[in-house]
């Protein structure tokens, strides 16, 4: 029982990290799956989400509304990136990697110029604790988990159950055939990119009160998100969730005993071993 009480907050912390990371990974994987684009600027979209929420809260916007606006704003940035950069390069994977890498640097430097290199902190909308049986746990983290889980499920349902999801999956599987059936594949791409960007923006906004917000925070989430996809496999959403659970969970739990750097090295080694054993990911395509 005592062990349970000691472990529960750690597990909840890990779960909240995993859920936020899953938003980032899911955005990355829908963009990769549909456009074949490895978006190296995805971490910066996440960072922009955190800055957007911090700015809006600074202007007096209530936190939750600010988080929603941050997701929309980053989605709009995604629209622009897709229209100006991605769609022109989509057939050239190496070019998109270079272009999004350059974009990542530009976005980071842009934020440094606009807001300075220093980190800032954002207060959570509530600092109340909720008593859960024998432990008490920050209410904000519980809200965050509920919201992230809801958005994840909604995104999965969007792809699995709606016409938009059907056309997106079709455009992913056979773009030419989808186009011949009358589907405007470019528009599907753009909407998917916007969705992926908005997910990253939301993740950044939700995590902002829990970590320090600085121009370089994106990398700290992009790397585990990539590892998650490599470990779990990019062929299905289940793969993304399993991979994120393993990578994010290990990262967060190990961080309690090891230094963050040592934890990341252990996670990295585990990920490399998992990829070695199952190069296409732990979860195969359905």
């Amino acid at each position: 029982m005592d062990a349970m009480i000691a472990w529960a907050p750690l597990l909840l912390d890990a779960l909240s990290f995993v859920l936020v990371l899953a938003l980032v990974s899911l955005g990355l994987v829908v963009i990769f799956g549909l456009l074949g684009v490895i978006n190296l600027a995805h971490g910066e979209l996440f960072m922009l989400g955190a800055y957007a929420v911090a700015l809006a809260v600074g202007w007096g916007v209530p936190f939750w509304l600010a988080a929603a606006l941050a997701a929309l704003a980053v989605g709009a940035v995604g629209w622009l990136i897709s229209a100006v950069l991605i769609e022109r390069l989509a057939a050239r994977p190496l070019d998109t990697i270079l272009a999004t890498w350059g974009l990542a640097i530009a976005l980071r430097q842009g934020v440094v110029l606009a807001f300075g290199p220093q980190s800032r902190n954002l207060d959570a909308p509530t600092d109340a604790d909720v008593v859960l049986g024998a432990i008490s746990y920050p209410a904000y983290r519980l809200y965050l988990m509920a919201l992230a889980a809801t958005v994840l499920i909604a995104t999965l349902l969007l792809f699995a159950r709606t016409r938009f999801g059907l056309t997106a999956r079709a455009a992913m599987a056979r773009p030419d055939m989808a186009a011949a059936l009358g589907i405007d594949v470019r528009r599907v791409w753009r909407r998917t990119f916007v969705l992926g960007a908005a997910l990253a923006g939301l993740a950044g906004a939700l995590i902002a009160p829990l970590i320090s917000v600085d121009p370089y925070m994106g990398l700290g989430f992009l790397v585990p998100a990539f590892l998650s996809i490599l470990v779990g496999g990019s062929a299905s959403f289940a793969g993304v969730l399993v991979g994120t659970g393993i990578v994010g969970g290990a990262d967060s739990l190990l961080g309690h005993w090891l230094s963050p750097l040592a934890a990341q090295i252990v996670v990295f080694v585990v990920a490399v071993l998992a990829i070695r054993v199952r190069p296409t990911g732990l979860v195969r395509a359905p």
Partner: protein, 230 residues
């Protein structure tokens, strides 16, 4: 219905079609025959907008569709059954059919299930598990759910046993009469062409080398020897 004039299409290095001109009259099944590698599929893809012509024109009635994006050509009333069928193997039969109407909205029309009653029974099956004949039926049905004016069929008989080809021929005749459909049929199967087409044209070295009334063709015809013989 469809007027192709002096069409040139290629793949970067060298043109495959070098001035194709032909007409597909409204309400007919017009066949295009030719040996392997002559560019029949290339022509179909250009008609559907999946390849951009380097010169020439494609008109659907009065509308120039050459070089337009495929979804616009589909919206203008053209549907395509590609060689190899282009089925979404991991999707269900129903999802495949729904994709045919996804762009313009609405449901899969009931008459399509009446033409293809087996598909109605297989609705929930994963398309990749269907037999070759069932997949071909699905590809044709998916093209028809959008109620096209012009249907492009690229070697629909490929890989099917003769009895199934015959069945498909009868069904196509029925649908063409029923919906006043115009069909552009690429085929190497002479029996099917004779059965359902009015006119057959021959594609040789990137140009139309001649045409004939489909019912006059036989394996012994000189044109068949010249353009399809080995």
């Amino acid at each position: 219905m469809l007027t192709i004039s002096d069409l040139h299409v290629g793949y970067g290095h060298g043109t495959v079609l070098q001035g194709v001109s032909m007409i597909v009259p409204r309400g007919t099944v017009t066949a295009l025959m030719g040996r392997n590698g002559m560019g029949k599929t290339t022509l179909c893809r250009a008609l559907m907008g999946l390849l951009a012509p380097s010169a020439g024109s494609i008109r659907l009635d009065e509308l120039e569709i050459g070089g337009r994006p495929p979804h616009r050509i589909a919206a203008a009333g053209v549907a395509y059954v590609p060689q190899g069928r282009g089925i979404f193997e991991r999707f269900t039969v129903e999802e495949n059919l729904e994709l045919g109407v996804a762009a313009r909205g609405g449901r899969v029309p009931a008459h399509v299930y009446r033409w293809f009653p087996t598909l109605a029974e297989l609705r929930r099956r994963t398309a990749g598990t269907l037999s070759g004949g069932e997949q071909q039926a699905l590809a044709i049905a998916r093209a028809l759910v959008s109620e096209p004016r012009l249907l492009i069929l690229d070697e629909p008989s490929e890989g099917l046993q003769p009895s199934l080809v015959e069945e498909m021929g009868s069904l196509l005749l029925r649908i063409v009469a029923d919906r006043h459909l115009t069909v552009f049929l690429v085929e190497q199967n002479l029996a099917l062409v004779r059965r359902i087409a009015t006119i057959a044209a021959f594609l040789v070295d990137g140009r139309i080398a001649g045409g004939a009334a489909a019912r006059d063709l036989s394996p012994e015809s000189p044109v068949i020897h010249r353009h399809l013989g080995l």
